[in-house]
Point group: C2
Chain length 122, copies 2
DNA sequence: CAAATATATGAACACATGCTCATACCTTTG
DNA sequence: CAAAGGTATGAGCATGTGTTCATATATTTG
Protein backbone atom coordinates (compact mmCIF):
# COMPACT_ATOMS: atom_id res chain seq x y z
CA UNK A 1 0.00 0.00 0.00
CA UNK A 2 2.80 2.35 0.81
CA UNK A 3 5.03 3.49 -1.99
CA UNK A 4 8.37 1.90 -2.53
CA UNK A 5 11.33 3.20 -0.67
CA UNK A 6 11.73 6.90 -1.05
CA UNK A 7 15.23 8.27 -1.21
CA UNK A 8 15.22 9.93 2.16
CA UNK A 9 17.94 9.01 4.57
CA UNK A 10 15.91 8.70 7.67
CA UNK A 11 18.35 6.61 9.61
CA UNK A 12 21.26 8.96 9.59
CA UNK A 13 23.60 6.73 11.47
CA UNK A 14 22.88 3.12 12.08
CA UNK A 15 25.08 2.64 15.07
CA UNK A 16 24.54 5.44 17.50
CA UNK A 17 21.71 7.13 19.26
CA UNK A 18 20.79 9.81 16.84
CA UNK A 19 18.13 11.92 18.52
CA UNK A 20 14.82 10.30 17.79
CA UNK A 21 13.45 12.50 15.07
CA UNK A 22 9.95 11.13 15.02
CA UNK A 23 8.70 14.18 13.13
CA UNK A 24 10.78 13.19 10.11
CA UNK A 25 8.99 9.86 10.00
CA UNK A 26 5.84 11.77 9.11
CA UNK A 27 7.26 12.16 5.63
CA UNK A 28 7.92 8.48 5.14
CA UNK A 29 4.85 6.67 3.87
CA UNK A 30 6.26 3.28 4.73
CA UNK A 31 6.81 4.24 8.34
CA UNK A 32 3.36 5.76 8.52
CA UNK A 33 1.82 2.61 7.15
CA UNK A 34 3.82 0.44 9.53
CA UNK A 35 2.67 2.61 12.41
CA UNK A 36 -0.99 2.27 11.51
CA UNK A 37 -0.52 -1.49 11.29
CA UNK A 38 0.80 -1.54 14.83
CA UNK A 39 -2.00 0.67 16.12
CA UNK A 40 -4.45 -1.51 14.26
CA UNK A 41 -3.14 -4.58 16.04
CA UNK A 42 -3.81 -2.81 19.33
CA UNK A 43 -7.23 -1.55 18.27
CA UNK A 44 -9.23 -4.72 18.79
CA UNK A 45 -10.64 -5.67 22.16
CA UNK A 46 -9.65 -9.32 22.04
CA UNK A 47 -6.17 -8.63 20.72
CA UNK A 48 -5.59 -5.93 23.28
CA UNK A 49 -6.57 -8.28 26.07
CA UNK A 50 -4.24 -10.92 24.72
CA UNK A 51 -1.37 -8.46 24.65
CA UNK A 52 -2.32 -7.15 28.04
CA UNK A 53 -2.20 -10.65 29.47
CA UNK A 54 1.24 -11.12 27.94
CA UNK A 55 2.64 -8.07 29.69
CA UNK A 56 2.60 -10.10 32.89
CA UNK A 57 4.26 -13.19 31.48
CA UNK A 58 4.38 -15.45 28.48
CA UNK A 59 1.40 -17.76 28.17
CA UNK A 60 0.05 -20.74 26.28
CA UNK A 61 -2.92 -20.55 23.97
CA UNK A 62 -5.06 -22.35 26.54
CA UNK A 63 -4.19 -19.83 29.23
CA UNK A 64 -4.99 -16.94 26.94
CA UNK A 65 -8.25 -18.58 26.03
CA UNK A 66 -9.27 -18.75 29.68
CA UNK A 67 -8.03 -15.26 30.48
CA UNK A 68 -9.75 -13.64 27.53
CA UNK A 69 -12.91 -15.71 27.54
CA UNK A 70 -13.17 -16.37 23.84
CA UNK A 71 -12.94 -19.56 21.81
CA UNK A 72 -9.70 -21.35 21.12
CA UNK A 73 -10.12 -20.71 17.43
CA UNK A 74 -10.63 -17.00 17.89
CA UNK A 75 -7.52 -16.75 20.06
CA UNK A 76 -5.50 -18.70 17.56
CA UNK A 77 -6.61 -16.53 14.67
CA UNK A 78 -5.75 -13.35 16.54
CA UNK A 79 -2.40 -14.73 17.66
CA UNK A 80 -1.68 -15.45 14.03
CA UNK A 81 -2.30 -11.85 13.14
CA UNK A 82 -0.23 -10.56 16.05
CA UNK A 83 2.59 -12.85 15.00
CA UNK A 84 2.41 -11.75 11.39
CA UNK A 85 2.53 -8.14 12.53
CA UNK A 86 5.56 -8.90 14.69
CA UNK A 87 4.01 -8.05 18.05
CA UNK A 88 4.36 -11.47 19.61
CA UNK A 89 6.70 -14.40 19.33
CA UNK A 90 5.91 -18.07 19.74
CA UNK A 91 7.79 -21.14 20.80
CA UNK A 92 6.73 -24.75 21.14
CA UNK A 93 6.88 -26.44 24.50
CA UNK A 94 5.60 -29.95 24.27
CA UNK A 95 2.08 -29.86 22.96
CA UNK A 96 1.67 -26.23 23.77
CA UNK A 97 2.53 -23.04 21.97
CA UNK A 98 3.89 -20.39 24.27
CA UNK A 99 3.41 -16.80 23.21
CA UNK A 100 5.22 -13.73 24.46
CA UNK A 101 5.46 -10.05 23.61
CA UNK A 102 8.02 -9.54 20.88
CA UNK A 103 9.79 -6.68 22.63
CA UNK A 104 9.43 -3.79 25.04
CA UNK A 105 7.99 -1.57 22.36
CA UNK A 106 4.72 -3.42 22.65
CA UNK A 107 4.56 -3.07 26.42
CA UNK A 108 5.38 0.60 26.12
CA UNK A 109 2.57 1.22 23.67
CA UNK A 110 0.12 -0.63 25.87
CA UNK A 111 1.24 1.35 28.88
CA UNK A 112 1.02 4.69 27.14
CA UNK A 113 -2.36 3.88 25.66
CA UNK A 114 -3.85 2.63 28.90
CA UNK A 115 -2.55 5.49 30.90
CA UNK A 116 -3.80 8.08 28.49
CA UNK A 117 -7.17 6.44 28.13
CA UNK A 118 -7.40 6.37 31.91
CA UNK A 119 -6.94 10.12 31.99
CA UNK A 120 -8.71 10.89 28.79
CA UNK A 121 -10.74 14.09 28.84
CA UNK A 122 -14.38 13.08 29.18
CA UNK B 1 10.03 12.51 24.81
CA UNK B 2 9.80 8.86 24.07
CA UNK B 3 12.42 8.07 26.64
CA UNK B 4 10.48 9.91 29.26
CA UNK B 5 7.61 7.67 28.42
CA UNK B 6 9.37 4.34 28.53
CA UNK B 7 8.94 2.23 31.62
CA UNK B 8 6.41 2.35 34.33
CA UNK B 9 6.56 5.78 35.82
CA UNK B 10 5.59 7.83 32.90
CA UNK B 11 4.89 11.21 34.39
CA UNK B 12 7.49 11.55 37.07
CA UNK B 13 9.17 14.21 34.98
CA UNK B 14 6.24 16.48 35.60
CA UNK B 15 6.87 16.34 39.27
CA UNK B 16 4.02 15.64 41.58
CA UNK B 17 1.85 13.01 40.00
CA UNK B 18 1.50 9.70 41.71
CA UNK B 19 3.11 6.86 39.83
CA UNK B 20 0.70 5.76 37.16
CA UNK B 21 -0.28 2.18 37.75
CA UNK B 22 -1.14 1.33 34.21
CA UNK B 23 -1.12 -2.36 34.96
CA UNK B 24 -4.21 -1.96 37.11
CA UNK B 25 -6.07 -0.56 34.14
CA UNK B 26 -5.78 -3.97 32.53
CA UNK B 27 -8.53 -5.11 34.86
CA UNK B 28 -10.90 -2.34 33.91
CA UNK B 29 -12.93 -3.25 30.85
CA UNK B 30 -14.02 0.32 30.28
CA UNK B 31 -10.46 1.57 30.21
CA UNK B 32 -9.49 -1.26 27.90
CA UNK B 33 -12.29 -0.40 25.55
CA UNK B 34 -11.46 3.29 25.64
CA UNK B 35 -7.86 2.43 24.86
CA UNK B 36 -8.77 0.34 21.85
CA UNK B 37 -10.95 3.18 20.60
CA UNK B 38 -8.00 5.53 20.71
CA UNK B 39 -5.72 3.06 18.98
CA UNK B 40 -8.43 2.48 16.42
CA UNK B 41 -8.56 6.19 15.66
CA UNK B 42 -4.82 6.02 14.97
CA UNK B 43 -5.04 2.84 12.96
CA UNK B 44 -6.25 4.26 9.66
CA UNK B 45 -3.85 5.68 7.09
CA UNK B 46 -5.87 8.78 6.30
CA UNK B 47 -6.68 9.55 9.92
CA UNK B 48 -3.10 9.07 10.94
CA UNK B 49 -1.92 11.48 8.26
CA UNK B 50 -4.49 14.01 9.39
CA UNK B 51 -3.29 13.76 12.96
CA UNK B 52 0.31 13.81 11.86
CA UNK B 53 -0.30 17.03 9.93
CA UNK B 54 -1.89 18.52 13.02
CA UNK B 55 1.18 17.88 15.15
CA UNK B 56 2.86 20.74 13.29
CA UNK B 57 0.02 23.21 13.63
CA UNK B 58 -3.71 23.55 13.50
CA UNK B 59 -5.16 23.46 10.00
CA UNK B 60 -8.31 24.01 8.01
CA UNK B 61 -10.14 21.25 6.22
CA UNK B 62 -8.86 22.50 2.87
CA UNK B 63 -5.27 22.38 4.03
CA UNK B 64 -5.69 18.89 5.34
CA UNK B 65 -7.29 17.88 2.09
CA UNK B 66 -4.26 19.05 0.13
CA UNK B 67 -1.78 17.60 2.58
CA UNK B 68 -3.45 14.22 2.71
CA UNK B 69 -4.51 14.00 -0.92
CA UNK B 70 -7.99 12.68 -0.43
CA UNK B 71 -11.38 14.16 -1.16
CA UNK B 72 -12.92 16.90 0.92
CA UNK B 73 -15.73 14.60 1.89
CA UNK B 74 -13.41 11.86 3.07
CA UNK B 75 -11.45 14.33 5.19
CA UNK B 76 -14.61 15.71 6.67
CA UNK B 77 -15.94 12.28 7.56
CA UNK B 78 -12.70 11.31 9.23
CA UNK B 79 -12.50 14.58 11.11
CA UNK B 80 -15.98 13.88 12.36
CA UNK B 81 -14.86 10.57 13.77
CA UNK B 82 -11.73 12.06 15.32
CA UNK B 83 -13.83 14.74 16.91
CA UNK B 84 -16.35 12.26 18.26
CA UNK B 85 -13.50 10.26 19.73
CA UNK B 86 -12.08 13.38 21.33
CA UNK B 87 -8.75 13.43 19.50
CA UNK B 88 -9.22 16.76 17.78
CA UNK B 89 -11.01 20.01 18.45
CA UNK B 90 -12.57 22.38 15.96
CA UNK B 91 -13.28 26.07 15.82
CA UNK B 92 -14.84 28.20 13.14
CA UNK B 93 -12.86 31.00 11.56
CA UNK B 94 -14.83 32.71 8.86
CA UNK B 95 -15.85 30.15 6.30
CA UNK B 96 -13.29 27.69 7.48
CA UNK B 97 -13.19 25.09 10.19
CA UNK B 98 -9.87 24.94 11.94
CA UNK B 99 -8.92 21.64 13.50
CA UNK B 100 -6.27 20.98 16.12
CA UNK B 101 -5.07 18.11 18.26
CA UNK B 102 -7.16 17.89 21.40
CA UNK B 103 -4.20 17.55 23.74
CA UNK B 104 -0.64 16.38 24.11
CA UNK B 105 -1.73 12.82 24.66
CA UNK B 106 -2.41 12.52 20.97
CA UNK B 107 0.97 13.90 19.97
CA UNK B 108 2.65 11.57 22.43
CA UNK B 109 0.94 8.52 21.00
CA UNK B 110 1.85 9.52 17.48
CA UNK B 111 5.44 10.09 18.50
CA UNK B 112 5.75 6.79 20.34
CA UNK B 113 4.09 4.90 17.54
CA UNK B 114 6.19 6.45 14.80
CA UNK B 115 9.39 6.05 16.67
CA UNK B 116 8.75 2.43 17.45
CA UNK B 117 7.59 1.63 13.96
CA UNK B 118 10.73 3.29 12.67
CA UNK B 119 12.83 0.92 14.74
CA UNK B 120 10.53 -2.03 14.43
CA UNK B 121 12.30 -5.37 14.10
CA UNK B 122 12.07 -6.38 10.47
C1' DC C 1 -30.75 38.32 -1.79
C1' DA C 2 -27.74 35.72 -5.17
C1' DA C 3 -23.47 33.78 -5.96
C1' DA C 4 -19.28 31.91 -4.44
C1' DT C 5 -16.47 29.49 -1.20
C1' DA C 6 -15.84 26.21 2.54
C1' DT C 7 -17.43 22.44 5.11
C1' DA C 8 -20.79 18.79 6.66
C1' DT C 9 -23.71 14.89 6.09
C1' DG C 10 -26.61 10.92 4.49
C1' DA C 11 -26.97 7.00 1.40
C1' DA C 12 -24.88 3.43 -0.98
C1' DC C 13 -21.39 0.32 -2.11
C1' DA C 14 -17.15 -2.43 -2.11
C1' DC C 15 -14.21 -4.36 0.84
C1' DA C 16 -12.22 -5.67 5.35
C1' DT C 17 -12.78 -7.90 9.83
C1' DG C 18 -13.73 -11.09 13.66
C1' DC C 19 -16.26 -14.75 14.86
C1' DT C 20 -17.89 -19.78 14.54
C1' DC C 21 -17.72 -24.38 12.75
C1' DA C 22 -15.46 -28.16 11.09
C1' DT C 23 -11.40 -30.23 10.48
C1' DA C 24 -6.46 -30.82 10.03
C1' DC C 25 -2.00 -30.73 12.26
C1' DC C 26 1.41 -31.68 15.87
C1' DT C 27 3.18 -33.81 20.05
C1' DT C 28 3.11 -36.95 23.88
C1' DT C 29 1.50 -41.18 25.93
C1' DG C 30 -0.12 -45.96 26.22
C1' DC D 1 0.50 -47.20 15.93
C1' DA D 2 -3.79 -45.42 18.04
C1' DA D 3 -5.75 -42.19 21.05
C1' DA D 4 -5.88 -37.89 23.30
C1' DG D 5 -4.65 -33.24 24.31
C1' DG D 6 -3.35 -28.87 22.40
C1' DT D 7 -3.13 -25.75 18.57
C1' DA D 8 -3.75 -24.05 13.67
C1' DT D 9 -6.37 -23.00 9.64
C1' DG D 10 -9.81 -22.54 5.78
C1' DA D 11 -14.59 -21.45 4.66
C1' DG D 12 -18.55 -18.96 5.47
C1' DC D 13 -21.18 -15.38 7.46
C1' DA D 14 -22.69 -11.18 9.75
C1' DT D 15 -21.15 -6.84 10.75
C1' DG D 16 -18.16 -2.85 10.39
C1' DT D 17 -15.52 0.60 7.69
C1' DG D 18 -13.77 4.11 4.32
C1' DT D 19 -14.78 6.03 0.22
C1' DT D 20 -17.62 8.39 -3.32
C1' DC D 21 -21.64 10.90 -4.92
C1' DA D 22 -25.06 14.05 -4.30
C1' DT D 23 -26.73 17.43 -1.68
C1' DA D 24 -27.29 20.33 2.39
C1' DT D 25 -25.57 23.86 5.49
C1' DA D 26 -22.81 27.87 6.76
C1' DT D 27 -20.35 32.19 5.87
C1' DT D 28 -18.71 36.02 3.24
C1' DT D 29 -19.15 39.11 -0.67
C1' DG D 30 -21.36 41.68 -4.57
Amino acid sequence: MADAVRGKELHLVDGEEAPDEWASYLEDDDVIYATTQIFDALADYTRFRILGALTTSERSVGELQRLCGVSQSAISHQLRLLRDRGLVTMRREGQRSIYALADEHVATLIAVGLEHAGHWPE
